[in-house]
Amino acid sequence: MLQLECPWCGPRDEEEFTYGGEAHITRPPEPDAVSDAAWGDYLFFHTNTRGLQSEQWCHSHGCRRWFNVARDTVTYRIHRVYRMGEPRPGFDA
């Protein structure tokens, strides 16, 4: 069971969290301006990274806040936890 560091509550067991998938997928600000293919990309075609990936998690059984986690999808090691709105960290950091 993973242990995640909620930015507001501290380290907690995975069971308290909800997984939200890849982070930094922006909703097209003008949906009508994008093609069906581009809209399909936004909806379904994500990177599914093997390795370090930025993800959204929510402390749903705690403070109910969403935040970002940079996690390795192979080792499951957590590299960084950062708040919404903060930029994706340089992964070499």
Binding site: E14, Y19, F45, T47, N48, E55
Partner: protein, 416 residues
């Protein structure tokens, strides 16, 4: 290929089994093939087998980065059924089921396909409605399906808990009698042997590291054993599909997740069919060795680690204990995980890609094993004709753009 039979067994017994042939060769890769199948799991091997058998394409290599059947083929709970809701899915899976029914004889290798029946339990009134909907659709599609009452279930599965006082009492189930289980390793090995006998080169320990393209066409693959040229490349690598797609410069609508399973210590026969429950969330059958083979849903997070989190195991065993209170004192012998590639509509992607000559077969999620021969059959057709068969045409990448999804988890019974 020496045929396997009781006679060959006796004959070889007389020579102390010293003269058995290799089940398949281990040739060095040739510089060039007519087609390459990337991935030596059940689907990849079936693809190669049907390329050779149905389409006369024998200058074919199967490239496997590890050992044959070492991915989800060797890690799944071996359920085979075809009682899917939507026509497109039902037809594809039933094609597969029909192939299963003749596979042992076809490839002269006992894959131990055991048609012991699969029950999909209904625990709520909406489950019952969905179950009837699926049963009716299956019957009109020519797929055997019955709705069975709790009393009928109890008569066929005496160990099950049909108490109306259960937290989520069993209100009925669909039963597909032609469904069942098979021997997962045997499927990979038998297909490898049959493909090899038709001239296919099966190359283990050969990892694909790049997909070479020219002018939007595939020309071959870079591997840990050098470049291998081919005008057609079919990729069937389950959880690693996105990694291979990335090599070819496009993305897939799949996410890779851990899927866990476990077995108990072996006991005398106590469960003769396969029981699946979405609401209570677990499924169980008993192997010929006597082990209870148990699985449940995927871990929520993405992962390529072939391992998941313990709470999933806890919930699964709570579900199994709820369905079968007498299993409580049985013990978990071993648990493990695989990597499954999940699509938004719980249906596979099987067809052409933005790169000419490059074909992808992925997105089977938690239920790929049952499709092994059908998937290979349809994929072989697609590779051979550079066009999908009508059975797999609906399972195109394009559907995620047009919105023509085949939403199997919307309605019912999709998990596994």
């Amino acid at each position: 290929m020496n045929r396997y039979s009781i006679l060959s067994l006796v004959r070889n017994a007389l020579s102390h089994h010293e003269n058995w042939q290799q089940a398949w060769r281990s040739p060095e890769p040739k510089p060039r093939y007519d087609a390459i199948v990337v991935g030596g799991g059940g689907h990849g091997l079936a693809t190669a087998y049907y390329l050779a058998k149905n389409h006369g394409l024998t200058n074919v290599a199967v490239l496997e980065k590890g050992w044959l059947g070492g991915g989800n083929t060797g890690r799944n709970t071996t359920i085979v059924r075809s009682n899917y809701l939507w026509d497109e899915a039902a037809w594809l899976y039933d094609k597969s089921l029909r192939l299963w029914e003749g596979l042992t004889r076809d490839i002269n290798y006992n894959v131990m396909f055991s048609q012991r029946g699969v029950f999909n339990l209904a625990h709520t009134l909406q489950d019952v409605r969905d179950t009837w909907r699926r049963v009716n659709a299956n019957r009109l599609n020519g797929i055997d399906a019955e709705f069975v009452t709790p009393e009928q279930i109890k008569a066929m599965v005496p160990a099950i808990n049909t108490s109306p006082d259960a937290r989520y009492p069993i209100l009925g189930a669909s039963l597909q009698r032609r469904a069942g289980v098979a021997r997962h390793d045997g499927v990979a090995w038998g297909l490898a042997r049959a493909a090899d006998a038709r001239g296919v080169d099966i190359i283990q320990n050969c990892e694909v590291t790049g997909i070479r393209r020219e002018d939007g066409r595939v020309t071959g693959v870079e591997t840990s054993r050098g470049f291998i040229a081919a005008p057609k490349v079919g990729v069937v690598v389950a959880g690693h599909a996105s990694v291979l797609a990335d090599m070819a410069g496009f993305r897939l609508p799949v996410t890779s997740h851990p899927l866990q399973a476990l077995v108990s210590e072996p006991v005398k026969p106590v469960l003769d069919s396969v029981i699946m429950s979405n609401q209570v969330h677990g499924y169980v059958s008993q192997s010929d060795k006597g082990e209870l083979v148990i699985g449940a849903g995927i871990d929520a997070y993405q992962g390529y680690g072939q391992r998941g989190s313990f709470p999933v195991v806890e919930h699964t065993l709570a579900a199994i204990k709820e369905l079968f209170p007498i299993f409580s004192r049985m013990r978990m012998l071993r648990q493990w995980g695989g990597i499954v590639d999940v699509t938004p509509d719980a249906c596979p992607i099987l067809g052409k890609t933005p790169v000419d000559g490059l074909y992808f077969n992925c997105g089977w999620g938690t239920g790929g094993f049952k499709a092994t021969p059908g998937s290979g059959w349809a994929f072989a057709h697609t590779i051979a004709h550079d066009a999908p068969h009508e059975l797999n045409a609906p399972f195109s990448l394009d559907r995620f753009v047009t919105g023509h999804l085949i939403d199997e988890h919307g309605a019912a019974g999709v998990a596994h």
